[in-house]
Symmetry: C2
Subunit: 161 residues, 2 copies
């Protein structure tokens, strides 16, 4: 089980954007430079965030990305889903119906949900819940508490050309 690398990038970028004046758009190139990431690929990830409204994008000079809504209303689950997709980690292919197993258990199994799939689904739900309970604002606040100067320092770096 592996999450796409872009999820990490996207979360960090969202935290940084939460510290920048909402009327100021930041180009992907600048976001990438801050963490020394490949510009074009980060741009692709930010596109994904834009498609679901996590960030708002604008083309042209003075264009770039800004948060699409208040950081309190952006959860880690939102970001993870936008980048990594919403497909379940455990995909039940219904092998209990294939081959002799299907003819043995027969129609009795058709009416019940797959026990194995259900167990994994429950676990995944716990994972999703944890991520849905953590907002970008909350994470940004935790970082600020550990390093109070961080927001200002980040804002200043993005302000200067």
């Amino acid at each position: 089980m592996k999450l796409r690398e872009g999820v990490e990038w996207a979360v960090h970028c969202c935290i940084n954007l939460s510290w920048i004046s909402p009327d100021r758009a930041v180009p992907a190139a600048r976001l990438a430079a801050f963490h020394d990431l490949p510009t074009a690929y980060l741009n692709k990830q930010m596109n994904a965030l834009g498609r679901v409204g996590i960030v708002a994008s604008r083309s042209g000079p003075r264009g770039g990305f800004r948060l699409g809504r208040e950081p309190e209303r952006i959860t880690l689950m939102d970001v993870a889903t936008a980048i990594d997709g919403s497909a379940q980690a455990f995909l039940c292919t219904g092998i209990r119906h294939h081959g002799p197993a299907g003819t043995i258990t027969g129609p009795a199994a058709d009416r019940t949900t797959c026990t194995v799939a259900q167990a994994f689904s429950t676990a995944e739900l716990a994972w999703r819940r944890q991520l849905a309970d953590r907002s970008i604002a909350e994470l940004a606040d935790t970082v600020r508490r550990a390093n109070p100067a961080a927001p200002d320092q980040v804002r200043r770096w993005f302000d200067r050309p």
Copy 2:
């Protein structure tokens, strides 16, 4: 985020094996036939289970696989880890130290753990806990409750040549 397909196969096979007399080994070919799976590939997955002791394997005639310990002591986490590996889903690459971000936050960030990584780690822990709480025996029992005849039917199918 995606789990390898072999995890589903392995869990179903473990449940089936839990219904079969422990002194009877089942060849990979027979296990595969029951669910109409590719024999060689399933064998590969069973190997992985064998390496960590979830199943015991024996070569030659009358050889095959059997459970390596009581099904009560085999958890879904054990199986998932054996097949899919134990690597964390969210791998912190430490981008907050790369580029200008590193020089800005500076050594203050070196002493603290990454907030983002910690949040994802917590979520993943919840997932792991859920899977570690579910044993093969428990799942097999749930299946049996929904279809009391299943264990006998499965045992009989594997007994006849």
